[in-house]
Symmetry: C2
Subunit: 579 residues, 2 copies
């Protein structure tokens, strides 16, 4: 009975905000009051704090209305997200000084806004990007695998992106940069709610698909065709991959074309980054005036794996060189917003997509405060620098210790854009509206938990300062897999004895989470051939978009094989070996 009452109180909380937004937001359709379905853990918090949240939300609605009246439209939103950077490496100049490089612009934006010190992402690129754009853990949207060329997969059509949510509420939307959301048609960003998009469907590995890259790979078994001599034993002519694309472009509902001009060389690859920046600034200029607010995902390509021929930082590491250059680009963006006079109606979020590539990564991609990196469920894999900059709205000089999850951006952006009603209510949305945190500051987060997945496997649970490792734990035993993140930030010294009471609590938390998955099942992986709708496909790209052997010459359907691509089957063995 008590639970039921609290749930009703919580319903009022959501409905009130949605109705209010409908009241002042003339350019959106009539708002429904159906509830967003959050993860089970959220309701445990809402039952305890829902009354306070209602009060806060009323204040927030007033502030949003004031802003709307002042600027004539909801705020513009720019989400900048780059690769592989641990928390502390951007936004804390002292750490940069110790590491021999700096990003003065982004550090200044952190000082002029909010430095989020506990932003959790998923542990790697594709999962984080899919989580940001859908507001859902990658395990739910099927994007838990890091895409490589060819991935034969990508974001499913029936996932609802933040671009769709905001687009429907009247926003002009654009995507420029590295999507890493896959190579199939449904993953094309002009099919996922963006009015305009230029995107690279993979990570930076295709940067090695140039003569210099082939030398760089230092492998006599290098697979790029023009480096590979004739081999008399090489009898399968379709086995070695050809026809990668670096980037694609398209407009909402329109055709998709390759972006960038062959023949490919390293200079051409590096020029992509200029193009992404220029497109971003151009889109801003075109949309600064007028009734429509804009939403831009600018997810920089950052670098190639070949690096830069010159050095701009003392450290000189690949990532550090790339971020020092990105910082200059971000400076130009900030200058443009100031010059256009729209800074105070523009929220900019800057962040990385996951921890550093410490396993087999380039020089300088290392752990600092937290242990582990890309792919790991330890804090080093999932805690990234994150900066919120919104002059006149987000108070300067704030450092925030609250937990925020990358999916929270989805719901928070929707709230700011008056678009909560466009969020689907037939699936779990992990993202929590964190507008109260943006407006009120430290300790106003509505989340104290995180579920850390590696691939489809639930690897660790976080509740406040406490963490439990599930991968690597001994089944049936009270193992020592409990950590106090304040006092053991590197997860170096697992304890059971002093943290015994945490075991039962974590058990319940995990069971609630699993129960909710049974009620609202995860999306499966979405598999198909790549690039099937590229209208100007080069012959080798066209060849990649269909079976290389005529299916009629085979006793099986190669298209079915694609759908069977397995991933992460032996996750336990993998992690066992690393620990």
């Amino acid at each position: 009975m008590a639970n039921s009452n609290k749930h009703i109180r919580f319903s009022k909380l959501i409905s009130s905000a949605a109705i209010f937004l409908a009241g002042f937001s003339g350019f959106v359709a009539a708002q429904e009051t159906t509830e967003i379905i959050h993860d089970a853990e959220y309701y445990v918090l809402a039952a305890q704090h829902g009354d306070r949240w209602l009060t806060e939300d009323a204040d927030i609605d007033s502030k949003l209305e004031e802003l709307r009246e002042k600027f004539g439209k909801p705020p513009n939103i720019i989400h900048i997200m780059w690769d592989d950077t641990p928390v502390g490496e951007v936004g804390i100049p002292e750490i940069q000084k110790m590491r021999g490089w700096e990003t003065p612009v982004m550090n200044e934006m952190a000082a002029d806004g909010m430095n989020l010190l506990r932003m959790y992402t998923e542990p790697s690129c594709t999962p984080s990007r899919a989580a940001a754009i859908t507001g859902r853990h990658a395990v739910r949207n099927g994007m838990y695998n890091v895409g490589f060329p060819y991935e034969y997969g990508g974001l499913a059509a029936d996932e609802v992106t933040i671009a769709e949510v905001l687009s429907e509420a009247g926003y002009a939307t654009a995507f420029y940069g590295k999507s890493h959301l896959g190579d199939v048609t449904s993953a094309n960003l002009n099919n996922q709610g963006f009015d305009e998009a230029i995107w690279s469907p993979y990570n930076q590995v295709p940067s090695l698909y140039v003569p210099a890259g082939q030398a760089h790979a230092l492998s006599p078994a290098v697979m790029f065709p023009n480096m590979f001599p004739d081999d008399p034993y090489d009898i399968d002519k379709g086995w070695r991959p050809t026809g990668f694309v670096w980037a694609l472009e398209g407009k909402k509902g329109g055709e998709v074309r390759e972006f960038g001009t062959p023949p490919f060389d390293h200079e051409g690859y590096m020029a992509l980054e200029d193009a992404f920046e220029e497109a971003t600034l151009d889109f801003i200029r075109r949309n600064a005036e007028g009734d429509k607010p804009f939403f831009i995902s600018w997810w920089p390509q950052l670098t190639s794996f070949l690096g830069f021929p010159d050095r701009v930082t003392p450290a000189g590491g690949l990532l550090q060189e790339a971020l020092a250059r990105l910082d200059v680009r971000v400076g130009r963006l900030r200058d443009e917003l100031d010059a256009l006079g729209i800074s105070e109606n523009t929220l900019v979020v800057l962040m990385a997509d996951n921890g550093p590539m410490v396993h087999d990564g380039p020089v300088g991609m290392v752990e600092t405060i937290y242990a582990g990196g890309k792919g790991d469920f330890t804090e080093g894999g999932v805690r990234v620098p994150a900066i919120v900059w919104w002059p006149g709205v987000v108070e300067p000089g704030q450092t925030v210790g609250d937990i925020v999850h990358i999916t929270d951006l989805f719901t928070t952006f929707a709230r700011l854009g008056g678009a909560l009603q466009n969020i689907p209510t037939d699936r779990i949305i992990d993202g929590i509206d964190q507008t109260a945190l943006l407006f009120n500051g430290d300790t106003y987060s509505r989340r104290d938990y995180n579920f850390i997945y590696t691939g489809p496997v639930l690897a660790a649970l976080v509740k406040g300062r406490y963490k439990r490792h599930l991968v690597g734990a001994k089944p049936g035993l009270s193992g020592p897999e409990f950590y106090d993140l304040y006092n053991d930030p590197r997860e170096a010294s697992a304890k059971m004895l002093p943290m015994f009471p945490a075991k039962g609590m974590f058990n319940i938390m995990k069971l609630r989470h699993q129960m909710w998955i049974e009620k609202y099942p995860n999306q499966g992986q979405n598999r198909d051939y790549p690039f099937v709708d590229v209208v100007d496909a080069r012959p080798e790209v066209a060849a990649a978009s269909k079976p290389r052997i005529n299916p009629e010459d085979l006793p099986f359907d190669p298209r079915e094989v694609i759908s069977r691509i397995p991933e992460w089957e032996n996750i336990d063995a993998r992690w066992g070996a690393q620990r």
Copy 2:
């Protein structure tokens, strides 16, 4: 010939500063111009930068003269040094937020002054404290071993301390807190240049010498006598130690008495810290006016190993709780300086003595940015938080990436106090005058190197961003013991191939260092019985101060045995096992 000329130029550099100081410093004896003997590596830098340094020094002398005229005396100096804290844990509020605690006062002092991000100490307490007070690496002054009760040793009489150097130049000098410089008569701080002193001769281990401590030790073999029942097989009645002291007090040239009233209990131990603070504030008040500047070493006791019964931080770790409390004390010191109107003529240096006690340490004493801790030659063992605060003189808002070594305080304090001429010139002084860094800021350090010892063993070499491990290296091979500290701050990925040119450079650097030791040999260890001059010694303390068995009943001299106490004999085996 070229070298000889450069050396002459360097001589001019030192002489010029000394002569100038003599000119305006009426209260000191006539200054000599004999050169300080630095480590060999310093002259390599002086040969390259001596001309610039001369120019800088002329400016510095003018500034010092201006200050002297303004305030009527040289600056007061307060050196605050506590235990076991890695760089970043104080002075970078963002890291504290991630760790669940804060030191707002000290962070503010860092922001209002200079945050030294690359202050090197020795790797453990006694060595660091001996290095700070003598301006010499612990290996040179014989204090390379961490003292435990009983140490049967301590700082030698013919070591010259900063208190002696400044005292001779007219300063009022005081020591309050943990000295950890040994239990023999020559280590008593009233014999080492301090006008007034209250000090604990050991680390915090004697805090366990109370009933609660004995329970806390959780060892059935606990050695404290009043916990130990009669044992019929216990036939050596002198073997189990008794008669530790917590603290001693004395005035220059006067008697030494025990400080603190038996019977000992935990409250009594914790009250020591109040006494140290009160003595510090009282000394400041008594010396604020008048012609004499003051020098105070306030080296807080910080905590006992029993911790605090209540919690003031979310993290709650022993060190964090202690530092949060120390921060309040430092706040009172700052308020006192402001209230007395002497802040602008008082330099305050705040720092830790070495990295965190990660080996067998309390909960929460952990690595963060750098790997390793107390006792280790990796960066985590020797890089500590360090803050310089001097309103009106040291510009606010500075972060400094230069290398500074704890011994540099000795020479810099002497320069500021017009006391360079009191530094002995018959031995190597590792400390470098870093006044140019304090006055001019980042990149003005006169040091780019460090020699890291563990005990008497040279364990690692640091030159700028480069580091070489010597302990653990394979003799005769080109092993992979070379590190790039910008890109590999945790010394996780040793490289030889890309850093091959560093090998020859490090070889020369090491050989120069060793050559200079042959010319100016190290002090040996200084061994004796403890507490021999405590005038109010309790019977058990008096018993500890002499052989427990009458030497006439023995076929050997137990006093000779003391002088043979070996330390660190199997250093290579020890480090081999840890790596």
